[in-house]
């Protein structure tokens, strides 16, 4: 559904200023009916990639086909087949949701009567009916975002681009948006979204591409990515600082411990081990031998955060 090859874009903020390489060659392949997530920190080039694929920016180099249409040769055809929801949305304060939906459908060439019908369906499907005749200015962030989504699909596109669909939403609105996105996929839509929320990528996407510095660092299913980090991590809570130093000294000797560090801001340790299943009994035995009683022991499967850290050497700032 979406195939890109070496897509590039750089910006020149001012004449004469040094160019910013926002996207430095992105290769993507998204299958029909897939939810693909581009995960990356601020400024990674996610929005720029999406705007190129949505025909809003002309790429400096590379090629792409979207829903079977060539991005360079037939941008008009691409436009007809896709929906795009921008990072900041795009609703008019003084218009109502219904008016916006009708106008959007009509801009895609839908006839008036049909557009009115689709607006009605959109209001119902995205839970907007209650305030659909109030002007957008009065909507909450979540309501507005659901309207953005409804606008993005009112013409029933085959491919949908979502730029940070849940940024700034509370947990309830977020899961509501996730449910909508899953429902769209069930209807056969292909979704390419961007996010810098790890849990979002993990929960929603079939496949994830991790973007950093204008390129895809790695991609795979959330499970595959997590397996790229070998081993598990274990957190041990301890009663006081003295116990923490004692435990640190005793556990550092163990061959199954790859690395350990004190927990920031509380008494306890975080350890990286080859396999938690065999390591935990050894850890507990060793602690008992030096007379330290742990308060709790927690096993942590690696998160996408760990993947990102391992691949780029930096932590993702905005994990929620």
């Amino acid at each position: 559904m979406i195939v890109t090859k070496g897509l590039r874009k750089s910006f020149r903020p001012r004449r004469g200023a040094a160019a910013v390489d926002a996207v430095r060659g992105i290769d993507l392949s998204v299958a029909e009916g897939e939810i693909y997530g581009l995960l990356g920190p601020n400024g990674a080039g996610k929005t720029t990639t999406l705007r190129m694929l949505a025909t809003l920016l002309v790429p400096d180099g590379g090629a792409a086909t979207v829903a079977g249409a060539d991005l360079r040769a037939a941008p008009g055809e691409v436009r007809r087949r896709i929906g795009y929801v921008a990072q900041g949305g795009g609703t008019t304060d003084q218009a109502t949701a219904r008016e916006e939906l009708v106008l959007q459908a009509r801009m895609y060439g839908v006839r008036k009567a049909e557009a009115v019908r689709r607006a009605e369906q959109g209001l119902a499907a995205f839970d907007l009916a209650e305030f659909g005749d109030r002007v957008c200015k009065t909507y909450s962030g979540g309501q507005r975002r659901r309207l953005d989504l409804a606008l993005g699909v009112v013409h029933r596109p085959r491919v949908l681009f979502l730029d940070e669909p849940t940024v700034g939403l509370d947990p309830r609105s977020r899961s509501q948006v996730w449910a909508e996105v899953r429902r769209l996929r069930e209807q056969g839509m292909t979704v390419l979204l961007t996010t810098h929320y790890l849990d979002e990528a993990d929960a929603l996407c079939d496949r994830i591409g991790i973007v950093d510095n204008g390129g895809i660092v790695t991609e795979g299913t959330p499970e595959e990515l997590k397996q790229k980090i070998s081993g598990d991590s274990v957190t041990i809570g301890l009663p006081d600082p003295a116990a923490t130093t004692g435990a640190e000294r005793a556990l550092a000797e163990l061959p199954c411990v790859q690395r350990l560090e004190a927990l920031p801001g509380e008494d306890g340790l975080r350890l990286h081990v080859d396999s938690a299943a065999t390591a935990i009994p050894q850890l507990l035995r060793t602690l008992a031998a030096v007379g330290i009683e742990p308060e709790h022991v927690q096993l942590q499967r690696p998160s996408l955060d760990d993947v990102f850290l391992a691949l780029t050497g930096r932590a993702l700032a905005h994990s929620s």
Partner: protein, 254 residues
């Protein structure tokens, strides 16, 4: 056909938004009244130098100039409304749809043109009790010329707003263009009063010819050369301005 349909779509939406902003309507209607009421007592004596011997004569010189100034200034400053839409992402959302790019511009410019025409008709009608006399054919042609001027000025303004898309930068740019343009068109005072060098400069300003056309029409000289010269020049410029701005709409949205 698609262009006409799309333009109509955008235009309808713009009219709706205009109708929802009562402040705009109040200002839009009060402003012309103020011009007429406050300037009326000044007119006769001020314009005596350019051959106005009665209030009626004065209005024939003043009203067409005032209308031209409104069309040019109103048009040139309309780019600021586009900034809001750019900011809200409305333009970007439209640009992802297959809607015609020219329609995105024309629908908006025509909204502005409509607003200015309503104001103009109002002023012209209100000026009649003050002593303005103007034939229906002349008035209709004058309105056509005004519509072209408004369309041209708003297209230019939208183009500028796309080039310098911040409030702080757009203001000075528009002012720099609007001030000399208004002066060198002789909108408020006929340029005939000016020294020779200023008159030469003005003759290079296409808007000057449009304003001359307006004055000829209000003087009842339907067949004067100024009329067709003004119309032709303005039509030509409008076409250029619309083409330029539409091209920016297609390319240049951040």
């Amino acid at each position: 056909m698609k262009l006409v349909r799309d333009t109509w779509l955008v235009y309808q939406r713009q009219l709706l938004l205009m109708a929802r902003s009562p402040v705009w309507i109040a200002v839009g209607l009060l402003q012309p009244l103020c011009y007429l009421l406050l300037f009326a007592p000044l007119l006769t004596s001020a314009l005596a130098a350019s051959g106005a011997h009665s209030t009626s004569d004065a209005y024939r010189i003043y009203v067409p100039g005032l209308l031209s100034a409104l069309a040019l200034m109103g048009g040139l400053f309309t780019g600021f409304t586009l900034l809001g839409e750019l900011h809200a992402g409305v333009i970007e959302r439209s640009r992802v749809t297959p809607v015609s790019r020219v329609a995105l511009l024309l629908g908006r410019a025509l909204r502005e043109t409509t607003a200015l025409l309503i104001q103009s008709v109002l002023i012209a009608v209100l000026a009649i009790p003050f002593g303005l006399t103007v034939g229906l054919a002349d008035l209709l042609l004058a309105m056509a010329l005004l519509a072209l001027m408004a369309l041209m000025a708003s297209s230019v303004s939208y183009g500028l707003a796309l080039l310098v898309p911040t409030d702080a930068a757009l203001g000075p740019v528009v002012n720099t263009i609007a001030q000399p343009l208004a002066l060198l068109s002789g909108t408020l005072l006929p340029i005939a009063l000016a020294p020779v060098w200023l008159r030469t400069a003005a003759s290079w300003n296409p808007c000057y010819w449009a304003v001359e056309g307006m004055r000829a029409l209000f003087a009842g000289h339907l067949d004067a050369p100024e009329v067709w010269r003004g119309l032709l020049l303005t039509a030509l410029l409008t076409a250029v301005a619309v083409a330029w701005s539409a091209r920016l709409f297609a390319q240049r949205i951040r």
